[in-house]
């Protein structure tokens, strides 16, 4: 798994590539929680290049979202692959996360 973090004016984009599984998701958690610690106002997670995400990856996003909601930060997820979207829908997480089609859409919302 590869994580690329780019700070922009008003938002930070975290692009994740590869497989997010039980063994790699702790690194993703470290990245997201470091942004939470800085009270980042808007974090956009780009899933365009992920090949696989398991429950630990989804739980990592849920934890980050919960912590950001405490200070009114926003976690937005973009480019969700169809397979992952099915799991989000099944788990009703599509109603929990702010999901957008592109980074631009998420940044402008």
């Amino acid at each position: 798994m590869k994580i690329d973090t780019v700070a922009n004016s008003g938002y930070t984009v975290v692009s994740v590539a590869g497989e997010i599984d039980m063994y790699s998701s702790p690194a993703l958690r470290d990245t997201l929680l470091s942004l939470v610690k800085k009270k980042a106002a808007v974090v956009i997670v780009n899933l365009k290049d992920i090949k696989y995400i398991d429950s630990s990856g989804i739980a990592t996003f849920v934890e980050a979202l919960k912590k950001m909601m405490a200070y009114k930060g926003r976690l937005k997820i973009v480019n969700v692959p169809e397979r992952v979207m099915e799991i989000f829908k099944f788990s009703k997480l599509d109603q929990v996360f702010d999901i957008y089609g592109s980074i631009e859409d998420a940044a402008n919302s």
Binding site: P26, R29, S55, S56, A59, I87, F90
Partner: protein, 262 residues
């Protein structure tokens, strides 16, 4: 069609009794396969082999091309066990632990995930099986159907590639059993896992199977899709589907041996 499981010439004895007599079969990946047959035909023994609980006398089992019967190196078997989940007949929950603790157990044992992440995964898994809000309950406080659902939540904890069920409907009323079948179907549809179910319940077979393996007396007597199974002209398959009892006939010599133990 990619195969998840390749069994070649599997032979197993319990003592002097031969249970599996050279079983060879393939189980397709991403489908729901049911292993059927009458009680005592060897299907649960085959399941125990597939999950690596017992070793065969001879033969091999490849799971996604990894030989889990190979002597010596246990690491491959250990890795495989982390990628599979099993719902045992009695659900096999630890009675001294709450449901949440039961589901969290494999995550605590096999990963380095932090407690907040594990807590969320546990709630997600309990919700998947319709047990949201029951995390603090103990197994003894649940009905049979709820125990099975909790067992599925635990089997799903590590996001298995292959999910095994041993007689999931056993001991359940027909409505609860049908609900469990529906859950198996939904999990399979969403998570695209390979699902392997040992059962002899005809309604379950018709409800969930894509692919059927039938054993009789330790041998494979049918392998194919559900439609072919239903249409099969093989007498043994027809007798099973029509719930016809086996005709038992002893010769006087055999009967004498049975009652005298010789």
């Amino acid at each position: 069609m990619e195969n998840a499981v390749e069994v070649s010439n599997l032979v197993t004895y319990y003592g002097d009794r031969q249970i599996l007599k050279g079983v060879s079969l393939s189980i397709p990946a991403g489908m729901t396969t049911v292993i059927v047959g009458r009680s005592g035909c060897g299907k649960t023994t085959l399941l125990k082999h597939l999950i690596g609980l017992i070793r065969p006398t001879s033969g091999t089992i490849l799971i996604h091309d990894t030989d889990i019967t190979a002597e010596g190196d246990q690491s491959q078997l250990e890795q495989y066990r982390k990628k599979m989940g099993v719902l045992f007949q009695g659900a096999a929950l630890l009675n001294s632990m709450t449901l949440a603790e039961n589901v969290a157990l494999p995550l605590k044992e096999h990963t380095k995930l932090k407690a907040p992440v594990i807590d969320i995964i546990v709630r997600m898994k309990l919700d998947l099986v319709g047990l949201s809000g029951f995390g603090d309950f103990y197994p003894a406080q649940l009905s049979g159907g709820m125990k099975k659902r909790a067992g599925i939540a635990r089997a799903m904890a590590m996001d298995p590639k292959i999910l095994y069920f041993d007689e999931p409907s056993a001991g359940l009323d027909p409505v609860t059993a049908a609900g469990l079948d529906e859950l198996i179907l939904r999990l399979h549809r969403v998570f695209k896992m390979t699902v392997i179910v040992v059962t002899h319940e005809l309604p379950s077979i018709f409800a969930i199977a894509d692919y059927v393996v039938m054993l009789d007396n330790g041998e494979v007597v049918f392998v194919g899709n559900l439609d072919d199974f239903k249409k099969s002209e093989k007498p043994i398959v027809k007798a099973f589907l029509e719930r016809r009892p086996e005709e038992v006939s002893y010769s006087p010599d055999n009967y004498f041996k049975i009652i005298t133990g010789t």
